[in-house]
């Protein structure tokens, strides 16, 4: 006797109702799963080696790396999450893509060069740069990195990182509204509006992209370990602009007549340093491309009209002096020809020039520590 393939339509209805119920339940329960629970699950530093720098990649298939916004997953994939030697002096480098090392192999980055320089000297330099130019992003990363108990943080910044208006729209900040809000409250940061965080974004459905990226990050871990490659190194790339036939005389909509100090968030630096008294900080004004091309008397590079950058240097110099922040201005130490595809990205030689300067700072810092110990 033939069996009816559709024995009871109600069965299908029951299945659909159960399915919807389970989906709703999973989505609801997912809201309560803490970020660090998922982000902390990682094959890095156990099955595969930790990364030399935070994950970032625009072409994952060839760089074996990708950009994601789960900060727990980002740090879990970094070698910083491996068990660190307590006897080592732990130095963190914070900054933008120039510190992360755009177009540089891990060993060519500033952290790579410093680690080589201080090899065998119980000093471990961690590359915590991330390719977004934002002081709030820096504060976010520093706040997270504090759990690793650094001795010294060398914080690289530049004027482009400071305008208050665009801090919250930087992808890594915009995609971490809960944590950025907590940061704003915790550090009492002025000028930043608390971001709404719709509950739907915390559900399983809302988090699906993040989860997928997290899995991909783990998968790319194998190829990172296998190849040591974490970004694409094209043979040819477009050089940073050096000629400005139509120079930009405004900076983020500001004219020379306006007061730049009112529109930048230097205070973030002060608040972060004061909030973390057990760690030493050194602030560096990072090198920029000083163009000698057309209209270079009006514009230094793609980012900066001359008036804005000169004004910024004066402001930050006064600011650090008033607040007692150890500060070095390295804006012009790297020659024009040692920049790659951007006004802040250095060539391998440019990195060496900067590393020489930073190594002197570290040496002096160690000397001071030894002096204080005596």
């Amino acid at each position: 006797m033939k069996t009816d393939p559709y024995p009871n339509n109600m069965n299908y209805l029951t299945i659909i109702i159960k399915l919807v119920f389970v989906l709703v339940l999973i989505n609801f329960l997912w809201i309560f799963v803490p970020d660090h629970f998922i982000g902390g699950i990682s094959i890095y530093n156990s099955i595969v080696s930790g990364r030399e720098r935070l994950p970032f990649g625009e072409i994952p298939e060839s760089s074996y790396n990708l950009s994601l916004f789960n900060i727990d997953a980002m740090f879990s994939s970094h070698k910083i999450s491996a068990s660190l030697d307590d006897d080592n002096l732990l130095i963190f480098l914070i900054g933008d893509s120039s510190i992360w090392g755009f177009l540089q192999k891990p060993e060519e980055t500033l952290a790579g060069l410093l680690n080589e320089k201080f090899d065998q000297k119980n000093i471990q330099v961690m590359n915590l740069g991330y390719p977004s130019i934002s002081i709030l992003k820096d504060a976010f990363l520093i706040d997270y990195a504090m759990r690793f108990d650094p001795d010294l943080i060398i914080w690289f910044t530049t004027l482009e990182a400071l305008p208050t208006d665009n801090q919250l729209s930087i992808p890594i900040n915009a995609n971490n509204p809960g944590r950025i809000n907590a940061l704003i409250n915790q550090y009492d940061l002025d000028g930043f509006v608390i971001q709404p965080q719709p509950i739907s974004e915390r559900t399983f459905w809302g988090q699906r992209r993040n989860l997928f990226d997290l899995i991909r990050l783990q998968i790319f871990g194998f190829l990172w370990d296998a190849t040591g490659i974490d970004q694409e190194y094209p043979d040819n790339y477009r050089q940073a602009l050096r000629d400005f036939p139509n120079p930009t005389l405004e900076f983020h909509g500001l004219k020379e007549s306006q007061d730049l100090a009112d529109h930048i968030s230097l205070d973030v630096i002060n608040k972060v340093i004061n909030h973390n008294p057990n760690t030493d900080f050194v602030l560096i004004n990072e090198p920029i491309l000083i163009s000698s091309g057309e209209n270079s008397h009006l514009q230094y590079n793609f980012y900066y009209p001359k008036w804005a950058y000169d004004s910024y240097r004066e402001i930050i110099n006064n600011f650090t002096e008033i607040n007692g922040i150890k500060y070095y201005d390295f804006w012009d130490i790297v020659p024009e020809n040692e920049f790659t595809n951007s006004a802040i990205h250095l060539t391998a030689n440019g990195e060496i020039i900067l590393a020489e300067k930073i190594s002197l700072i570290i040496t002096q810092y160690i000397g001071d520590l030894n002096q204080n110990a005596k």
């Binding site: 298939e61 991909r216 296998a226 190849t227």
Partner: protein, 416 residues
């Protein structure tokens, strides 16, 4: 048009005289003519894509061939037209599977159409699903030569040739099975929807979750250039072996599931091949319909023929030749390049050696059992060794050229 011509060649006279089939031939021909002629009328620009139309002499040439076949098919007792069509299918196959030939075909076609040859590219002559289309048609041609005219209506025939669920990645179904299922459906419209969706869901999971994830970490020409350690090279090679299985098996599940929804039962194409203890068993369980096809239309008849006609030659030499040549042909079916020839040779020689060792082992030691049948340890060892051999074979298959393949093997052996 190739489909219609083939049907005319292989069909029984009664089917050709059937009014419905005549209308179908006329309709299909008219459609072909309509779309070809349409391009010759500039005032109908909005109905066609803006490109230079094919020249009238090309159309006349095509129609001359078509009507010659229609007229002379009744006098085709020696199957000359069948053989010509088989040659045409194989030539088209070569054009599809070799980049150099595809590019030159594109140049020739552009010249015929008075188009710029600067824009010629190998990809523009590629025909989606041609491999499977050609194999279905070849199987019908061979069967027709051997067994006489077939009893398939034109609409069934065209439906079979272009059966879309299996057009991209198989399985290769026999025409008679397809037609039987199609006709049976009228009497019994019972479709196992649950099982069909289960197959589709399994396929989607295998293809889009497992295989696509594995694709990120499996051997490809870029990854192997970046790897210098033997351990990691073994890793990406093994990942490729899993990836290709889940990719292909996933597609097959989807095809079988969709076909089931339509009421067609496609044959199974995989049966746990990665658990095979020998290469022979692997090839009985991997892309089953393709190996069956080659077994039926090449290996068995040619082996019989060679044994009958070359009695002085040691049978094992014939067997070795046939196993290697069959696998090389399967390799060439995937693409015409030295890498596929090497892959075919690798598999063929492996099959032959494994068969000889198995026979020798049974003869001298176990009498009634193969080595892998002795116990769990011998079975596990055999499965592992077979998997290893298959995985290494994929190096030829996956790499774009021999230099890269040798680089992979060198790295696997620890030479950087």
């Amino acid at each position: 048009m190739i489909g219609v011509i083939s049907w005319i060649l292989v069909s029984k006279q009664s089917l050709l005289e059937n009014r419905n089939n005549k209308i179908a031939i006329a309709s299909l021909t008219l459609l072909f003519v309509f779309f070809s002629i349409l391009r010759l009328f500039p005032m109908l620009d909005n109905l066609r894509n803006i490109s230079i139309p094919p020249q009238m002499h090309v159309l006349i040439f095509i129609f001359t061939i078509f009507f010659t076949i229609v007229i002379f098919q009744n006098f085709n007792k020696s199957h000359i037209l069948h053989h010509l069509l088989i040659i045409l299918l194989i030539v088209l196959f070569a054009l599809q599977k070799n980049e150099f030939l595809s590019l030159n075909a594109s140049i020739v076609l552009r010249k015929l159409g008075d188009q710029s040859t600067n824009l010629a590219s190998a990809s523009e002559t590629l025909w989606v699903g041609y491999s499977y289309f050609a194999f279905r048609l070849l199987h019908i041609m061979f069967d027709s030569i051997k067994q006489g005219k077939i009893d398939i209506e034109l609409h069934e025939f065209i439906g079979y040739l272009f059966f879309f669920p299996a057009l991209l990645a198989g399985p290769i179904m026999r025409s008679q099975d397809y037609v039987n299922d199609l006709r049976e459906k009228n009497d019994n419209d019972e479709v196992n929807i649950e099982n069909a969706f289960k197959r589709i869901a399994t396929g989607l999971f295998q293809k889009f979750i497992v295989a696509d994830m594995l694709a990120l970490i499996s051997m490809n020409s870029v990854i192997v250039e970046n790897i210098s350690s033997a351990g990691w090279m073994w890793f990406v090679v093994f990942m490729y072996a899993f990836r290709i299985y889940f990719d292909f098996s996933g597609y097959t599940h989807i095809a079988i599931g969709i076909a089931q929804l339509i009421g067609i039962k496609l044959p199974e194409n995989f049966n746990k091949p990665l658990r095979s203890p020998t290469l022979t068993i692997f090839w009985n369980n991997w892309h089953i319909t393709l190996t069956n096809w080659f077994r039926a239309y090449y290996f068995n008849p040619v082996t019989r023929n060679l044994r009958r006609n070359l009695k002085t030659i040691y049978p094992n030499i014939i067997l070795a030749f046939m196993q290697i040549s069959t696998m090389i042909l399967i390799g060439l079916w995937h693409g015409i390049s030295w890498n596929f020839i090497f892959w075919g040779f690798w598999m063929g020689i492996g099959l032959f050696i494994q068969n000889q060792i198995s026979t020798w082992f049974i003869k001298n030691f176990t009498k009634d059992k193969a080595f892998w049948q002795m116990n769990l340890v011998t079975k596990s060892t055999s499965v592992a060794f077979t998997f290893l051999y298959i995985s290494l074979g994929w190096v030829w298959f996956a790499m774009p050229d021999l230099d890269t393949s040798f680089h992979v093997f060198a790295t696997l052996m620890g030479n950087k």
